[in-house]
Amino acid sequence: MSKLKIDTIAAVSTPAGRSAISLIRVSGPETFKILSKLFKTGGKKAFPLPYSAYFGAIVEPDTGLVADKCLVTTFLAPKSYTGEDLAEVSTHGNPVVVSRVMQLLLKNGARAAEAGEFTRRAFLHGKMDLLEVEAVSQLLSAGTASQARLALNQLDGLPSKFVARIRDRLIHNLVQLEASLNFPEDAVEAIDEHLLAIEIKHILAELHVFARNARNGNLVADGLRIALLGRPNSGKSSLMNYMLGRERAIVTDIAGTTRDTLEEAMMIGDFPVKIIDTAGMRRPGDRIEAMGIERTGQAVDSAFAIVGVFDGSQPVSSEDILVLDRIKSSQKPFILVCNKTDLPQRLEESFFSGCPTVEISSLKASGLPQLVKTLREIISSSGLSELEEMVLLGAQQSVSLDKALAALERADQGIGTMYQDMLAIDLEEAVRELGRVNGETVDVNTLDLIFERFCIGK
């Protein structure tokens, strides 16, 4: 880590103008130097002591005027929220008083903290792990309730605590295994492979659930992708505009207008989604169209759900059949839209049989509530609504989680027939990768742990 000059920051951390008491936090190397200039305490207790509270007054050094009577709580580095010297000044809630105290702090060497700066310092000093920091930034930028919930889960340390706990269980077993491998003649109990096998199965099951929650978490954080699919001119772009409530996509009566996929974000109930308009499906007329159609295929693959769009004013065409086949073979949740209901209907009703269908007129703006309702049902039946359990992982963290899972799968399959030294290699890999999921780069010093736990020694 590069050696940035760390200064001292201050900020009001209770919501402005509301409570009877306001809390001002000061953090950084100069914290107590600044406070000694401003804060006069009556008692004989030395200032500052680790985790102590002092009654006293904030006094303007030049005039000797008392700005406010207050309580100061002191935390000495590294035992504080930020890991630095930190003081909490509880003043009266009066906004005038609060701003006067703040002014005094700033005039005497503190700097007004930027958004998120206390958190960032906490991370720099190892007080938070990566998952938690990612969560704080998510929380600050959360657009929806579901995203905020997700960020809160992270902040509560749920996922990192979970991963840390699983990792500790693995370390416990690894240490015993390694003890018997490294010190065969010491009285280390051989590991009970039967019990270990059960333990690995349990851990795998829990980690798989975690991995699924992580996938869901990433879905929610990025927005669920909903692709509009249909033959040219069926009204996909019109439907997108209707859903968004504004003219986003170009609409013409020329078949093949949309040549590239288009994405736009919106909300479906509590959930952020991305609507994806695609190029109409048919045999391509030129190269650019062919590329657009290929992109359509990718949009289907990456979609969470598909909306099939059909022109109700036309009889079923071979292209419509192609579209429906593609939708059904995608194995994704879908809903069919019979569009253009304002015109005389010539699409055979039997074409939709057995599939969830809604009737819409994009032109006359009717039928959307029914579509939204069905999409909500699709989302909730996918299990995504159990927000309490969702997790967010970065790309690197997901890779590490997958590696940990793979290593444990090998251990699970091999245990009983495989040599213990190889079993240990798998457990070690799982421990290492789980550490990376939580952003820890600290090595597990297995040997030190062995000496702590077992009486090794000839």
């Binding site: 880590m1 590069s2 050696k3 390694e178 018997s180 491998l181 490294n182 010190f183 065969p184 003649e185 010491d186 009285a187 027939t417 495989m418 040599y419 213990q420 030294d421 190889m422 290699i425 780069t441 297995t446 040997l447 062995i450 000496f451 009486c455 090794i456 020694g457 000839k458």
Partner: protein, 636 residues
């Protein structure tokens, strides 16, 4: 005046490090002087009478493969040879030998005397002569001086050493020898930083006073073979046993009773001792609920009447030691011949040696063994060998030999040592080796014999026979990859008999061997290979089976090895003039430019360079070297 007072290489100390160093130097054709305080205690084993075990045994095998002496010497002088960990897997399997301490010393002494280019002399070195930052020679207590090009100091536990026994303590060295006084001061004057370490040893008791009938007998393995490649199939028909007994409540009580006299409580000794050799007092204090501690009772030689009590290490006063012994089954009436004691000595403070064992402080000075902060005979011998090889290469102005941690335990040892920062002494175990499936005990020659040949410690003839042997193994592995078993009804029936699953499509010999429960001979039976075409030697069959059965793991390990080996080849210090590297932290830049580490892999392992920083550095380096090293380093 001495007749001759200049030698290319001088080695100080004829312990395990010094013997190995002097022999390697002389065998490489360099005139070598070995100076030691007492010719009667050359290659002394002041503690346990055994060599080997996981990690340590691997080192001995590698010393043998590279052309060192310890493997041969212990093979010839052991009273017992044993396999350890055979059921736990190929990576941790190793041999352990019980030594006849007296024969070992005698044989080593003979070898030293009979090696051309080598002169062994008794003498107490009190000063190293440094001239302009370079080693120039040594001076003895008698005032006699010798000059040299390269100096290898292996002073073991002797520098300013102090013996501690209860409240008593005096200057002295193992076996009532005297401490080496003077050399420490001289090293400090040359700029070397020292620290104090301690270690201790258990009492030895008279064999006839021990009731062996109360003890469990632990015989050796007749077919364990020796450490040296040539001895791999040797049968040790005649062996003597070790014995096992345990402490109980009475012993714990006895230790507690006497605890006030323990140096641990008296605090008359440094606390920095080997973690893996705690004294019985420490064990009982640290694990108060544990009552049953094992005591291995080991012979010290064929004829020796002394028994070594492994597990009862202590420096409590004699009366306390008697008290404790009286509480242990079988040892109730044991007569103590030598009391256990602790010794405190000077060793190098961390951060002063390179992977080559050369000093970072004084040019031409090499150090090896206990002086470098290790503990154990095998660790000492390994370092002595590497130090001498590098001293000779430097003498001949050739590039140094940097054993890689991806290729040998020797590499792990010197790499760890040159970056070791912990207060306690270092001891090798498989836990230190991250590539231990590759560094298997059985593959030592396949990893190192070529190095030994290139260096000059392995003869052409020896290398040729090792090469032939390893080619046989590799050819057989290749053949098994080509042989194939078709899923006929008969084949499936036979497989079922092995309880080893079904056969749906043709399976190669490799695939068959990878199935649990099928060994080489069974695979060959299934493949209907005639006996004449098969391997016959047990060690070759073992190697084939192991390589094939662990190939999945070995492949994953090989990927990681590539990355470490690549980083190891980028030596430090490097001059980072490229302005783009200013994005690295100033601390990282400073270390890159400094002499703190030998190579980039050390810097990464010590977390002095983040993964992002490595990626930046490597891409800049790759650009500047115009595709010289086109290796992709995955960010793993």
């Amino acid at each position: 005046m001495e007749k001759r007072n200049h030698f290319s290489v001088i080695v100080v100390g004829a312990g395990h490090a010094g013997c190995e160093a002097a022999l390697a130097s002389a065998r490489l054709g360099v005139d070598t002087l070995l100076l030691t305080m007492n010719i009667s205690t050359v290659a002394l084993m002041p503690c346990n009478p055994s060599i080997g075990g996981p990690g340590k045994g691997h080192l001995v095998r590698e010393i043998g493969a590279l052309g060192g002496e310890m493997a041969q010497c212990i093979d010839e002088t052991c009273v017992q040879m044993k396999w350890l960990n055979t059921s736990k897997g190929p990576a941790v399997r190793s041999r352990r030998a019980q030594a006849d301490k007296y024969l070992y010393r005698q044989r080593m002494l003979n070898t030293l005397f009979n090696t051309p280019n080598l002169l062994l002399r008794q003498g107490h070195v009190t000063e190293i002569i440094v001239d302009g930052g370079r080693v120039a020679g040594v001076r003895l207590e008698t005032g006699v001086g010798f000059s040299c090009e390269k100096l290898i100091v292996t002073s073991g536990t002797y520098l300013n050493s102090r013996i501690i026994l209860g409240r008593a303590s005096w200057d002295g060295a193992p076996q009532n020898q005297s401490a080496a006084i003077g050399l420490s001061d001289s090293l400090v004057k040359a700029g070397v930083r020292l620290r104090r370490l301690q270690t201790a040893t258990p009492p030895r008791v008279l064999k006839s006073s021990v009731d062996l009938t109360k003890l469990t007998e632990l015989p050796g393995d007749v077919d364990a073979g020796g450490f040296l490649w040539e001895n791999r199939l040797r049968r040790y028909e005649k062996q003597i046993s070790c014995f096992l007994t345990f402490t109980d409540e009475r012993s714990v009580e006895a230790v507690r009773r006497n605890l006030s006299e323990s140096p641990l409580m008296l605090e008359n000794i440094t606390d920095e001792g080997p973690k893996h050799c705690p004294s019985i007092d420490r064990k009982i204090m640290k694990f108060p609920d544990m009552v049953k501690h094992q005591i291995f009772v080991e012979p010290e030689g064929w004829e020796s009447q002394e028994l070594y009590l492994q597990g009862l290490t202590t420096a409590m006063p004699p009366s306390a030691q008697q008290d404790i012994l009286a509480s242990v089954a079988g040892l109730e009436n044991a007569v103590v011949l030598r009391y256990g004691y602790a010794i405190e000595y000077d060793a190098l403070a961390p951060g002063q040696i390179r992977k080559t064992m050369e000093s970072r402080v004084v040019d031409g000075l090499y150090t090896a063994g206990q002086l470098n902060g290790t503990s154990g005979y095998e660790e000492a011998a390994g370092q002595g060998l590497i130090a001498a090889i590098n001293a000779v290469l430097a003498l001949k102005k050739q590039p140094p030999y940097w054993p890689s941690r991806t290729k040998s335990y020797l590499g792990v040892l010197v790499d760890d040592l040159s970056t070791w920062e912990k207060p306690e002494p270092y001891r090798i175990t498989p836990g230190h080796a991250e590539f231990r499936l590759t560094l298997r005990d059985d593959s030592a020659e396949r990893r190192l014999a070529a190095d030994g040949f290139r260096i000059g410690l392995v003869s052409q003839e020896r290398f040729a026979s090792i090469y032939e042997w390893s080619a046989r193994i590799e050819k057989e592995i290749a053949r098994l990859g080509v042989l194939s078993l078709l899923p006929s009804g008969e084949a499936r029936e036979r497989l079922a008999r092995f309880n080893s699953g079904d056969l749906k499509k043709p399976a190669s010999g490799n695939e068959l061997l990878q199935r649990p429960g099928i060994n080489y001979q069974e695979a060959m039976d299934l493949l209907q290979q005639p006996f004449e075409s098969r391997l016959t030697a047990a060690d070759e069959i073992y190697a084939v089976e192991t390589e094939i059965k662990s190939s999945g793991y070995a492949e994953r390990e090989a990927e990681k090895i590539l990355q470490t080996a690549f980083l190891e080849k980028i030596h430090l210090p490097m001059i980072t003039a490229d302005p783009r590297l200013q994005v690295l932290s100033s601390q990282a830049i400073q270390i890159l430019n400094s002499d703190r580490f030998d190579d980039l892999s050390q810097m990464v392992r010590k977390h002095c360079l983040s993964r992002t920083e490595v990626a930046i550095l490597l891409s800049v380096l790759a650009e500047n070297s115009e595709g010289e090293n086109e290796v992709e380093v995955k960010n793993d």
